[in-house]
């Protein structure tokens, strides 16, 4: 689901720019290799400012999920119910994600997931995560 987007100044940043180009990239340390999210000017593992971007494998496990049934904004009225997820990526970072509109899965904490980037327009795409074998990656 979404009718919500980050403002343009954030869509112009590398995280969302890479997604708009079709792939999930993670902010990574060029010295120790650790990935981190949300993006940051410094590596929280080795404190190096020498950071860059690397494509994520897209493999993740489901940390948690919740189904929003109550719309907390009038424009979300037609969107409920929708599923929000927390996913733990193979690279050791957590992302907030969700299940795309119109899809339903039997979710279980700890299940393996794979990434599916969905584009909404030229500037804006989001990384969703689906159960393995359900059309992700």
């Amino acid at each position: 689901m979404t009718v919500i987007r980050p403002s343009d100044e954030y869509l112009e940043q590398p995280y969302y720019r890479h997604l708009a180009e079709g792939t999930l990239h993670l902010n990574c340390c060029n010295d120790c290799g650790a990935a981190h999210h949300p993006p940051s000017p410094i590596c929280p593992k080795c404190r190096s400012f020498n950071t860059g971007w690397k494509p994520a494998s897209g493999r993740a496990t489901l940390n948690s999920f919740a189904e929003a049934r109550h719309a907390v904004h009038p424009m979300l009225g037609p969107k409920v119910p929708y599923v929000i997820t927390l996913v733990d990526l193979e690279e050791g970072v957590r992302l907030v994600s969700g299940i795309p509109e119109g899809m339903r899965f039997d979710l279980k904490v700890g299940m393996p997931l794979e990434c599916k980037v969905i584009r909404f327009d030229e500037a804006f795409a989001l990384p969703y995560f689906l159960p393995v074998g359900e059309g992700g990656a």
Binding site: P38, A68, H70, M75, P81, T85, R94, V96, V109
Partner: protein, 390 residues
């Protein structure tokens, strides 16, 4: 700590206060000074949340206070309710101030509501736009519809269910044990917003799901009003009326990924940092088993089981048994939120949570735990406190 809470003041809890947050704050502050038996001009320090709209300067100007020698602010709202007391206490112990008032005023029902996405989103054409750098409703979580704290709590709840393998029925009985017990406390508390509304476990089970797995009765009440408390040194407190309650220990914590919303914390089914309980109880010279009554900031009911486990009142994974068998109720091993909590008394952003701990140790709670000598207060482990009868 060598400080005491000597005065409490508050407005009524309501859905529409009909007055400004400044006026609410002033009413609560004057009430707290009167309760303490102190003069308004005795105030020489103020602490507040950065989220409060009423600044220290507004209070000083409105009351015509001679001067403040100290003022301090804490971030992340109610997360830091005990941290604000720690800050006031530290200022007193450092000699920066003698009489510090901690206040919170909010029209959180008739004004800006924490439970609404409008708080964090702008409407621009066909889109809702986020410009928030941090949760809730930040640029990385908002596009998936994760906007308000109550949705985050549903994520902790599902994580807890998954980690401990609780089925839906046991989970429902666990949180029902929080909501129903607290409502019964509120039914005996004339201040409580929901004092006249009973809640049975069947009512709870039939409650509307807001964000699965949480129901309407798992959520706190958006509330208008204000509360204030007066903090002085223990030495000064002994010279005042017999209403003092001692701050035995108070602290605040941040660890990577934790506040404001724990989205990126390593564990999402446990929210206190490693060692928080040992540090807090060690400073107080007590252990969890010495605590007579607990006040747990219940933005949702899910905070209660997590805090009970995080601070060692019960073992990991034991909350379902403890809460579904009335362990938090009157006569239980650890009565919890005897005012009714934020779920049923009202929401003064944690100050009423602290206040009920104070009232229990004064001996004037409407659900008095006989002989209570010690009270524990926490919000999600992000800040916590031990209070002792003076």
């Amino acid at each position: 700590m060598k400080t005491s809470i000597v005065g409490l003041g508050q407005t009524e809890f309501s859905k529409n206060s009909g007055r400004s947050e400044l006026k609410l704050a002033l009413e609560a502050i004057l009430g707290a000074l009167e309760d303490a038996g102190l003069e308004v001009n005795d105030i020489d320090g103020l602490v507040r949340y950065t989220w409060d709209n009423t600044s220290e300067a507004a209070i000083v100007n409105a009351l015509g206070l001679p001067s403040l020698s100290y003022y301090g602010e804490t971030e992340f709202g109610g997360v830091n309710c005990c941290g604000a007391v720690a800050q006031a206490s530290a200022a007193i112990e450092a000699g920066l101030a003698n009489c510090v008032v901690f206040y919170r005023a909010l029209n959180a029902r008739s004004g800006v509501r924490f439970g609404r996405g409008e708080r964090v989103l702008a409407e621009e054409g066909d889109w809702l736009v986020s410009r928030q750098p941090e949760p809730p409703g930040d640029i990385y979580s908002a596009p998936f519809g994760l906007l308000v704290p109550g949705q985050h709590h549903a994520l902790y709840a599902q994580s807890y269910m998954g980690h401990y393998g609780l089925d839906e029925e046991r989970f429902t009985d666990m949180l029902g044990g929080v909501a129903v017990t607290q409502r019964a406390y509120a039914n005996r508390n004339p201040r409580a917003l929901l004092k006249d509304k009973s809640l049975s476990l069947d009512d709870y089970r039939a409650g509307r799901v807001i964000t699965h797995p949480l129901r309407i009765y798992d959520y706190c009440l958006e509330t208008d009003g204000a509360m204030a408390m007066v903090i002085v040194s223990q030495e000064k407190a002994r010279q005042l009326s017999g209403k003092a309650v001692d701050v035995l220990a108070a602290g605040q914590y941040i660890f990577p990924g934790s506040v404001p919303m724990y989205l990126y914390a390593e564990k999402t089914y446990s929210l206190a940092p490693e060692g928080a309980a040992q540090q807090l109880f060690g400073r107080a010279g007590l252990s969890a088993s010495d605590i007579d009554v607990a006040m747990i900031y219940d933005a949702t009911s899910m905070m209660v089981p997590i805090a009970l486990e995080d601070f060692g009142f019960i073992g990991r994974g034991e909350a379902a048994d403890f809460l579904s068998s009335g362990g938090n109720g009157p006569g239980g091993p650890l009565p919890v939120n005897t005012h009714g909590g934020l779920l049923s008394e009202g929401y003064f952003h944690g100050l009423n949570t602290i206040a009920e701990g104070v009232r229990q140790l004064r001996g004037d709670s409407h659900n008095q735990v006989e002989g209570a000598e010690t009270a524990f207060v926490t919000l999600r482990g992000a800040s916590s406190m031990v209070l002792g009868r003076a």
